[in-house]
């Protein structure tokens, strides 16, 4: 088979997937209000996607913050502005590193969980059984998981940034001896409310993207063991790429 026809097939596949994703997301969007009518289901999924990701987010946040402290101090010491450590770190974490790293971790932990749960239900006919019982699996299974992810992501982002800034402080103030008051006041004078909102908006956007991709892949997984595995892998890969692309787009729009 020539490369050209392979390319054509790949493009056709990609377009078909993109079309399916569009139809899927518009249906999901359409039934979103119904998702809030079942708070118990929703709470369970917020737990599933958010509370269970807390450990990995906080540990990662702490270490990312500490590394930023080390690297940032080293960098700034070369140009003699160590006091700006707090500012530089806070801005970087708030606007870029926080949302992006949280999204990638989220895709790896929660995204795969969502995809494989739904994929497994697909493979064991549970979703079909629901359809036969005249229960819309989109409303019962997919939507709560999607909304759970969307709600959890901004919260996780906020927690990540907060923990990481403490990590920076741990290294900068406790270890390198930067004056604590100066650390925080420098940060306060240069970080704007718009920076905080930028970070949270990104968290929300990434949350929508990663959750959508996860539930889509799970829902359309081939009903076999390998199919579910492939869907899980694809979730992580596509989520990662989507996050980085959206990061650029959102940053460009907000700046």
């Amino acid at each position: 088979m020539s490369t050209v026809s392979e390319l054509k097939d790949a493009t056709a596949d990609f377009l078909e997937r993109a079309g399916a994703l569009t139809r899927f997301s518009s249906r999901l969007l359409w039934i979103t209000p119904a998702g809030f009518l079942r708070p118990r289901l929703l709470a369970q999924q917020v737990y599933n996607a958010g509370a269970l990701s807390l450990a990995i987010i906080m540990i990662s946040g702490l270490f990312v913050g500490m590394v930023m402290g080390l690297q940032g101090h080293d960098l700034l010491a070369r140009i003699g502005s160590e006091e700006s450590l707090g500012t530089g770190a806070a801005l970087t974490l708030l606007k870029e590193l926080g949302p992006v790293v949280t999204a990638l971790l989220f895709a790896g932990r929660a995204g795969t969980a969502l995809a494989s749960e739904i994929g497994l239900m697909r493979a064991t006919d549970q979703l079909t059984a629901m359809e036969i019982m005249a229960v819309d699996p989109m409303k019962r299974v997919v939507l709560p998981r999607f909304l759970g992810g969307v709600i959890s992501m901004p919260l996780l982002t906020g927690i990540f940034v907060m923990v990481s800034i403490f990590g920076v402080q741990l290294i900068g103030v406790q270890y390198f001896g930067i004056d604590r008051g100066q650390f925080w006041s420098e940060m306060r004078s240069y970080v704007e409310l718009s920076d905080v909102s930028e970070g949270l908006i990104k968290g929300l956007v990434f949350g929508v993207a990663c959750s959508l991709i996860a539930v889509f892949e799970g829902y359309n997984a081939e009903p076999t063991a390998e199919g579910v595995g492939r869907a899980t892998t694809r979730t992580v890969v596509v989520s990662a790429v989507a996050t980085l692309v959206l990061d650029y787009i959102v940053t460009a729009l907000l700046l």
């Binding site: 917020v46 737990y47 509370a51 807390l54 708030l94 919260l155 923990v163």
Partner: protein, 174 residues
């Protein structure tokens, strides 16, 4: 049902933690020193060059921020930038012959307005015009002035200086 309770509690804790983190970020990290617009009076200053001064830049006296730049416009009739300044009403004893100068924070930092207090017994009130200003220092002008000054030193008397670069408005006083 016990499992359900545990899940609900954990979820609630998670959501609270998330909201707390966001509140922390908003209040502890970001810049909220001077937000009250209600208790401020306005004065207007005109500059030949505002340089990199931005709206929202602080207005300081003796290093203390007492106001903000509220608006920067351009007056075509007098060819000057018009800067509207909000000053906190707590500080209503600024002499009306004070200098409102544009300074640069640090070597390459943002620009702000620093007030050098004068000796007048009359104080600034809402709507006043500032008489004494010092324009922003534009780096290029500084460099060309330096070069021009060097050229003058090196030419023998009676001849025109060689390094006249013909730069625009200088950084002089009013």
């Amino acid at each position: 049902m016990r499992k359900n309770r545990a899940i609900d509690v954990s979820t609630g804790l998670f959501v609270l933690l998330g909201i707390a983190a966001i509140v922390f970020l908003v209040t502890q990290i970001s810049n909220r020193e001077f937000t009250s617009h209600g208790n401020a009076y306005k004065v207007v200053a005109r500059y030949e060059n505002v340089g990199g001064l931005k709206v929202g830049a602080p207005v300081k006296v003796a290093g203390v921020t007492i106001g903000r730049v509220e608006d920067i416009g351009y007056d075509m009739t007098v060819f000057k930038a018009v800067v509207t300044i909000d000053i906190d009403t707590r500080y209503d004893q600024i002499p009306n012959d004070s200098y409102f100068n544009i300074f640069t924070a640090g070597l390459l930092g943002g620009q702000y307005i620093g007030i050098e207090t004068g000796g007048s017994e009359d104080y600034l009130k809402d709507g006043d015009q500032i008489e004494f200003v010092q324009n922003a220092i534009v780096l290029e002008n500084l460099i060309s002035k330096y070069l021009f000054g060097q050229a003058i030193k090196e030419t023998p008397p009676g001849q025109a200086p060689a390094a006249a670069t013909g730069s625009p408005a200088d950084a002089g006083n009013k």
